[in-house]
């Protein structure tokens, strides 16, 4: 297997609704990533596009619709989709293009335009449930989170205020992100007093639907060495999905995230993730998910993540900075395009390019993770400074 490096990243602003089409957003993000890498489209051997349900755009064959903006015309091109897990799975698909020797430079683009669907993106989410067992109950996707959050809180005896702390931290971190949609200085009480959506989930526990695109340039070590001395390697990749029968598993712990993490740690030869990981970007569409995923990533014991958060360990200047980007909670949640605040962020942090968001612990190893489908999918990517 060949070694793979990251050469650049890019992203649009994240907003509830952008004027640009998905194609135009993809173009803007791609141009940015190419510029940072110091490459042009002609240098790209293959293109991987990631985008979540077609139902948002109302355009089937969405991969084809987006391809011109993603620089895919006339090249080996494919679109990948694993629900919310797409944000980190898309660069994984790019990684294997290069690791396998099929390409020297791979352009990875992720796009989501959630604003096209009416009355609300939730109306499109309705189409992901099992048509016979679930849909007759007229479910809302927030129910997934509410049911999982309640189980997680009950099993470990976690208080809501210890979960609200995550929303406060991430929205504050997002004040330093130029793309942020919902950056804010809030208090725990603001979160606890916000509108009740589906108990225990309140409005400020949730990340907003967004439009946006992001892009990354991946290259073989040989190509990367010609362009830069500051190498950042994709060091480990893992992905894992649990059974479709989501009502048959205990929702308090994401076994599938642990499965993906173990696969990635093995590849990256990481034996003690708690000690060896310097910065983490777990998927945080809801505040409790950051905690749930820290535990799934084996960065702490089951039920320990809220305690670490309370002790300040996960602050940007803590021992283990978590979501220094501001995360989905603060920057926004254009599903696949959150690659920009997960994979791109870990690259920028390790390359020392995160500026105001830079974690001060001189990070050598970082991890990012995304999550999706019916509480069953995890994708994990580990990066290391060369």
């Amino acid at each position: 297997m060949r070694k793979v490096c990251v050469l650049g990243g890019g992203m649009t602003i994240f907003r509830r609704r952008l004027q640009e089409t998905g194609k135009e957003m993809s173009y803007e993000a791609t141009k940015m990533a190419l510029e940072e890498a110091g490459l042009e489209l002609k240098d790209v051997d293959s293109v991987v596009m990631g985008s979540a349900p077609d139902a948002f755009d109302g355009i089937h064959m969405k991969g084809e619709n987006l391809l011109d903006g993603a620089g895919g015309a006339g090249k080996p091109y494919l679109r990948v989709f694993v629900g919310g897990g797409t944000a980190v799975f898309t660069p994984i698909a790019g990684w294997w293009h290069i690791a396998s020797g099929m390409a020297d430079v791979c352009l990875v683009v992720a796009e989501e335009k959630m604003s096209s669907v009416f009355p609300h993106p939730q109306s499109a989410f309705g189409h992901i449930w099992d048509p016979i067992l679930d849909r007759p109950l007229k479910p809302n996707l927030v129910w997934i989170f509410a049911m999982e959050m309640n189980r997680y809180m009950t099993v470990h005896g976690i208080k809501k205020e210890d979960i609200a702390r995550v929303a406060v931290k991430n929205k504050r971190n997002a004040l330093d992100h130029p793309c942020a949609q919902l950056a804010a200085n809030l208090t725990i009480d603001d979160v606890l007093n916000s509108e009740m959506m589906a108990w225990p989930v309140q409005r400020l526990d949730i990340s907003p639907p967004s439009d946006g695109a992001s892009a990354m340039i991946l290259a073989s070590e040989e190509v990367a060495k010609k362009l830069t001395d500051d190498l950042v390697y994709l060091d480990g990749a893992g992905w894992c999905i649990d059974s479709t029968m989501w009502t048959d598993r205990d929702l308090y712990f994401p076994e599938y995230v642990a499965g993906a993490a173990k696969m990635a740690y093995k590849m990256a030869k990481i034996e003690n993730p708690r000690k060896e990981i310097d910065v983490a970007e777990p998927y945080d569409p809801f505040d409790y998910k950051e905690l749930h995923h820290m535990e799934g990533l084996l960065l702490c014991d089951k039920g320990e993540a809220p305690i670490l958060t309370r002790e300040g360990v996960t602050e940007r200047d803590g021992d283990l900075p978590v979501c220094p980007s501001g995360g989905l909670l603060g920057v926004g949640n254009p599903i696949a395009a959150t690659m920009g605040i997960k994979a791109c962020e870990i690259y920028w942090q390790l390359a020392g390019k995160a500026g105001k968001r830079q974690v001060p612990n001189d990070p050598q190893v970082g991890i990012c993770q995304a999550w999706g489908d019916l509480m069953q999918y995890g994708s994990v990517l580990i990066m290391r400074r060369g």
Binding site: G9, R15, I132, V142, D211, D248, G355
Partner: protein
């Protein structure tokens, strides 16, 4: 330098969309679907009409699988036997929702969650509604029982059970 530098994008408001300040192209897809319910779920739905819940047993791992399936996804072997299970169970988790399926606010909240069914293997259950309880009373681990629609109103659907209610003292 803070990456990303000068990110692009032009924000639009819903007001601009509604008032025609920007050109919008609309499309209203009109398609309908009729899903075959398959071997296992067809029988499951037939039994719902009779007011019964049915599962499938895997001879290999001995699990009683519910909702039923014709193969065990772990052993990857055919399941071998239909097993009637009870219409009582335990609340595994729940939510009290003030949102309908299109994220519209509702004042009368929906009690919804996962109920594991007695007689099936541990944790095996379905999503359903809860009622005849309150925000204060409902809890994880609470024993519950199905409340069925009258036989003449059942149509072979998950909604043939109206909801699950708390199990009464001494009741089975």
């Amino acid at each position: 330098m803070t990456k990303p530098e000068n990110p692009k994008g032009v924000e639009l408001s819903s007001k601009q969309m509604k008032e025609g300040d920007v050109i919008v192209n609309k499309w209203d897809p009109r398609v309908k679907y009729a899903w075959a319910t398959g071997e296992a779920i067809s029988r499951f739905l037939e039994e719902m009409k009779n007011g019964k819940l049915i599962a499938r047993k895997c001879d290999s791992c001995k699990r009683i699988l519910f909702p039923p399936r014709m193969f065990c996804e772990e052993c990857f072997k055919p399941t071998t036997e239909w097993v009637y299970i009870k219409d009582t169970g335990k609340i595994e988790t729940y939510s009290i929702s003030y949102l309908d399926k299109d994220a519209r606010r509702i004042t009368d909240p929906i009690f919804v969650g996962v109920v594991s069914i007695d007689g099936a293997s541990e944790k095996m259950g379905i999503m359903h509604y809860f009622d005849e309880t309150t925000k204060e009373e409902i809890s994880i681990g609470m024993p519950v029982k199905a409340v069925w629609k009258p036989p003449e109103e059942r149509e072979g659907a998950i909604t043939d059970i109206k909801y699950f209610r708390p199990l009464k003292e001494g009741e089975e």
